[in-house]
Symmetry: C2
Subunit: 229 residues, 2 copies
């Protein structure tokens, strides 16, 4: 056996910051810890990386196990490795950042988690470990990334109105947008498929529904197009 094995090793975990959009609020998925340390506290879903799985696979597996969620978008966020971040000893965690269509998922708690629930990102309970830092980092990433990559659509149902889309951006970016300019710009990109359907069950004029055209986006992307809001 080579010298790889001569050194003591930190434990390695993954933790996931999963965002969902609930009409007028940006939510984050938290699980209540069923074991020490921080028993009873809310924390990000996550757990130990197995020897035979990649980091991405570990993130997906833990998310599925602890909440039943399979995210539409998942990307690595940052790796947190301060020596004192876990009272059990040295634990380095690779944090992930995920987006889900909230409407399409029912939560189910399992494994080490007592309970899983959605919280407003602006109003979370006190979190275990350094998970508050991780959440802050993820929020920054979301705010930065949503403007130059079309990942926001992963938070909406497959068919959505332009008003829903605009509200999504207003919530994430924390500022108001001009309706006419927003529609002009987003439609000019030619990434939305205009459907022959309107929203249902509203007590006012029903808005037209649109669908994000992934295929067209990939084409334009290859041709040098850059999404930017």
């Amino acid at each position: 056996m080579s010298h790889t094995y001569e050194y003591p090793r930190p434990a390695l975990t993954v933790d996931c910051v999963v965002f969902g959009l609930d009409d007028d609020d940006l939510k984050v998925l938290l699980i209540q810890r069923g074991v020490e340390p921080f028993q009873g506290r809310w924390a990000l879903p996550g757990g130990f990386v197995r020897m035979d799985e990649s980091l991405d696979e570990a993130a997906r597996r833990e998310l599925e196990e602890e909440s039943g969620i399979r995210p539409g978008h998942l990307e690595q966020l940052f790796t947190f490795g301060e020596p004192e971040r876990d009272p059990r000893g040295r634990v380095v965690t690779v944090a992930y950042f995920a987006l889900v269509k909230l409407s399409a998922h029912t939560l189910r708690a399992a494994t080490d988690a007592r309970e899983a629930a959605w919280f407003s990102v602006w109003d979370t309970p006190k979190l275990a470990f350094d998970h508050a830092d991780i959440l802050t980092t993820a929020l920054q990433r979301l705010k930065g990334k949503v403007r130059y990559q079309p990942i926001g659509f992963e938070l909406l149902p497959p068919k959505f109105t332009l008003t829903q889309l605009q509200r999504l951006y207003e919530i994430v970016l924390e500022r108001e947008l001009d309706k006419r300019n927003f529609r002009k710009k987003i439609l000019a990109m030619d990434l939305l498929e205009e459907l022959d359907e309107v929203e249902q069950d509203v007590s006012h004029r029903a808005a037209r529904l649109y669908r994000f055209d992934h295929k067209k986006y990939r084409q334009l992307e290859k041709a040098g197009f850059n999404f930017e809001l």
Copy 2:
């Protein structure tokens, strides 16, 4: 001892992609491996994370040990954790991205490294492990980041000419820039201190020297200013 210790653990390393600017070429620091696996191959400087140091500290330490370099800018890049990336077994590596003033450093090899040397990023030898992927990722990050954060200055000497600065951007972004527009824009930001000095030992009109004003940048940044080239 809690369940933290029930699982086998991947080994954890850090690897550094260190960029330097050599007049007309972007360079990356590589070390020649003195031990198996990949003995004799060139690789990124790096090594195992110790139990009592943070990831950032590990990156700085390994860089210092293997090349004597203390970078002006160092940030975490990405964590690579494919199960098969290291033939010795499961090794997860946290990659770092660093910028140095090439002029200010003399290389000195040490530790496991047979030799350390600068290579053009466009023309590197075949690299060990998945280090070619890491290098590609780092280059993308550099190209993206240099445009909206003033980190490029870390590649130049403390006093530089506007032509040097422009050339830096042209090299990193791989496209030509208009001289007058470049100067207009960068000077309009009011981040450069115009010195009463000119470059020396040139056989033509000597260009004025400037210095990046870190303090002013931090002020403007707080006031909501965004660097963007």
